[in-house]
Amino acid sequence: MTLQAYLTIAALLFCIGLFGVITRRNTIGILLGIELMLNAVNINLVAFARYLADVSGMVFTVFTICITVAEVALGLALVILIFRIRRTAVADHLDLLRG
């Protein structure tokens, strides 16, 4: 498979994830979209690492996976806390930063 094929798949996945982030109303849904985007990045990194014979891409992937895990854990914890206070899961209602 050509490198371009992998990159194309990753790009598609990334854009689908972006679409999800923009359109989902539920906060957890947004987080799922973010997951997809990060996944796409990982595929990209590994594909480049393999085709350019450089192992650093894979090392970076390890890093991103770890960081993503931490971020998701805390993100979901935040979502739960917000639910406790605001009694809503819908992102549209969380607009305290409105100018």
Binding site: L13, G17, L32, I43, A70
Partner: protein
């Protein structure tokens, strides 16, 4: 059509279909399950790229850990809210336009870039190479990751404390 390409395209289809399902399903719980499918397909892609270690990590942490946490979160919030959370989407058209535009831009970049076509041969054990690299060249980020986990742990503990 070699086995590799069949495997690759099959995985790709599953991946993308799952991703679409994640973003378009109304039921949030189903979304999470589809996410699990996507993550597994990604692990398969890693395997096709001879990155076994990463495939293993992907399955363990992502498909195992992240999905579990997400399920828990949904269950808890569903409990809080009281009924099944349904998804309705907003601003589909603009989101579609933006994502589509970004996709087009990326594809254009890929088409024009001079990229190698064939894979180089696998030299040595990739897992060993990753390990060595982690502990020599990238030892500092590695240690910082430890600090990051510590911080995340503390944060989680803080969030989880009972209200006084």
């Amino acid at each position: 059509m070699s086995l590799e390409s069949i495997a690759f395209w099959g995985l790709a289809v599953v991946l993308l279909a799952g991703a679409l399902a994640v973003v378009l399903t109304r039921n949030l719980f189903h979304s999470v399950l589809y996410l699990a499918l996507v993550l597994t397909a990604t692990a398969g892609l890693f395997l096709s790229l001879d990155a076994e270690f990463l495939a293993a990590i992907q399955l363990l942490l992502y498909a195992g850990g992240v999905v579990t946490i997400a399920v828990f979160a949904i269950v808890v919030t569903e409990r809080l809210v009281g009924d099944r959370i349904t998804q309705t989407s907003r601003q589909i058209f603009t989101g579609f336009v933006i994502s589509g535009a970004l996709l087009v831009a990326l594809l254009v970049v890929f088409r024009r870039a001079p990229l190698t076509i064939s894979r180089p041969a696998v030299t040595g054990d990739l897992t060993r190479a990753i390990g060595q690299s982690l502990l020599t060249t990238y030892v500092l980020p590695f240690e910082l990751l430890g600090v990051l986990f510590l911080a995340a742990l503390l944060g989680a503990l803080y969030f989880a404390r009972p209200d006084d």
